[in-house]
């Protein structure tokens, strides 16, 4: 997708420096501790899958990474600088967020996909030029002029993904983007996504409660359960060497 582009200036930054560093993080929602992460890093170009049971704190992690929820304690650094020192808008314009439900606006598919570009004040011709390849890549080209309300669930989720990808974000946050889809649609979309993510060397955090999906899409898997980051590694490592009781319980639930 990006092959024709000039080499990215991102490469100029020290390769060793993690894009995201989480230290001693505590997230609290309505007075309750919902997530603790002692230490977790994310390198550029890495795809991290976050797995765990529902209600375990996975989505909270994404909201914190998107600077949409403030930590009660601890710090998240982006390019070495704590999120609270970033201008929230400036930071959010370098990332992109895809929710479990597509949350499309009442406009055409094309207008939905170019929304983030519009927010950034990009002129119409450039918006069109950037949107088109992504409509094609996600197989929704023929739907460009369709109203969002007329789409099927799978089509809508493709639009939602195109809307995030078109921004060429430095960090992509995906909150169970396939959870609401039927299995065949899910499998096809997973295949397409996996190709796009890997071909484009995207940095992404991808939340799911499906370990196979996580293995297919990511370089590394992090388990979040019982409001705590438990362990990170390959899917195989996690299956063979679960780091604690909470991970064992989660694996057991998966196998049932």
């Amino acid at each position: 997708m990006d092959t024709a582009k000039e080499p990215k200036k991102r490469g100029a930054v020290s390769v060793e420096e993690p894009l995201i560093e989480i230290r001693d993080l505590l997230m609290r929602r309505s007075g309750r501790d919902v997530l603790q992460v002692d230490a977790l890093n994310l390198r550029r170009g890495e795809i991290l899958a976050v797995v765990g049971p529902n209600g375990g704190g996975k989505s909270t992690l994404l909201l914190a990474l998107a600077h949409l929820l403030r930590p009660a304690r601890g710090v998240i650094r982006f390019e070495g600088k704590p999120l609270e020192d970033w201008n929230a808008l400036e930071y959010r314009r370098r990332i992109s967020f895809v929710f479990q439900s597509p949350l499309l606006l009442d406009m055409t598919v094309e207008q939905n996909v170019e929304l983030g570009l519009r927010f950034r004040g990009i002129p119409k011709e450039e918006r069109r030029a950037r949107v088109h390849p992504w409509l094609k890549a996600l197989g929704i080209e023929s739907l460009a002029q369709r109203r969002a309300a007329q789409l099927s669930g799978g089509e809508a989720q493709r639009v939602s993904l195109a809307r995030a990808f078109v921004l060429d974000p430095e960090l992509l946050l995906l909150d169970e983007p396939f959870a609401a889809l039927d299995p065949p649609t899910r499998a096809r979309l997973l295949e397409d996504m996996s190709q796009i993510l890997k071909a484009d060397h995207k940095t992404a955090v991808f939340v799911t409660h499906n370990l196979d999906e996580a293995a297919k899409l990511s370089h590394r898997v992090a388990v979040v359960a019982e409001g705590r980051f438990q362990q990170a590694g390959t899917a195989h490592e996690i299956k063979t060497h679960p780091a604690g009781k909470a991970v064992q319980v989660f694996l057991k639930e998966l196998s049932q």
Binding site: L89, F99, L115, Q145
Partner: protein, 226 residues
């Protein structure tokens, strides 16, 4: 008996006063209702309950309070606004603001709560986020506007008290109807009532038309699909 020129003048004043009052209440109620719906602060539910109570504010009570404020010896007496169209606008605005605010808050709360996070997550500024939230809620927001206008154009108690129903100055359709009825001039009262109904109908028809027009585009159009 009423003359045509007088009826025209009364109708024009009614429309003018109620349109301005609705306009002002939109300027106040739209941002206020949005803030109430999207905000996350202590006392939000309490404020919302106050606003919802305010939606049923009796016009005579508003009329009484505004009259006392504007009365020559009252705190705002120096402004010499009592028995002027401006006084009616003030009273009607107070009646319409809770209606527009409450229905705006309800309209926005009916949207998916994650929509604001999604917009911010795509890089929207606060203002851009609010603009697109309004755009998504435009149909119920239009209903809020219609309800606000409906509340003030048909209201009589406050207009009577703060305006004084002065011929050629502060007489509006509703106060004229009260006067004609009290005189036993039922024909005139009926004619004015019919006029009020037709006017209200025409304005709501226009707004409904706009509402339906934007709704129609959402329906699946089979002939368009390939």
């Amino acid at each position: 008996m009423l003359f045509n020129s007088e009826i025209f003048q009364i109708t024009a004043l009614s429309l003018q006063v109620s349109t301005i009052a609705t306009g002002i209440s939109l300027l106040i109620g739209l941002p206020f209702g949005t803030w109430l719906a999207l905000g996350d602060f202590r006392g939000r539910s309490f404020l919302l309950s106050i606003i919802n109570t305010g939606m049923a504010l009796p016009p005579v009570v508003v009329g009484l309070v505004v009259t006392m404020m504007l009365w020559r010896s009252g705190p705002l007496g120096n402004l010499r606004l009592i028995y002027t169209p401006a006084a009616i606008i003030i009273a009607q605005t107070i009646i319409a603001v809770p209606v527009v605010t409450g229905l705006t808050a309800a309209a926005i709360e009916s949207l998916d709560p994650r929509l604001t996070q999604q917009l911010l997550g795509l890089g929207a500024s606060r203002l851009q986020m609010v603009w697109y939230v309004w755009r998504e809620a435009r149909l119920p927001l239009l209903a809020a506007l219609m309800a606000g206008f409906g509340a003030v154009i048909s209201e009589v108690g406050a207009s009577m008290m703060v305006g004084g129903n002065i011929k050629g100055q502060t007489r509006v359709l509703t106060t004229a109807i009260v006067l004609e009825t009290s005189k036993g001039e039922f024909d005139a009262a009926l004619a004015l009532s019919a006029l009020l109904l037709v006017l209200t109908y025409l304005i709501n028809l226009a707004l409904t038309w706009i509402q339906q027009k934007s709704r129609k585009r959402e329906e699946p159009s089979a002939w368009k699909s390939r």
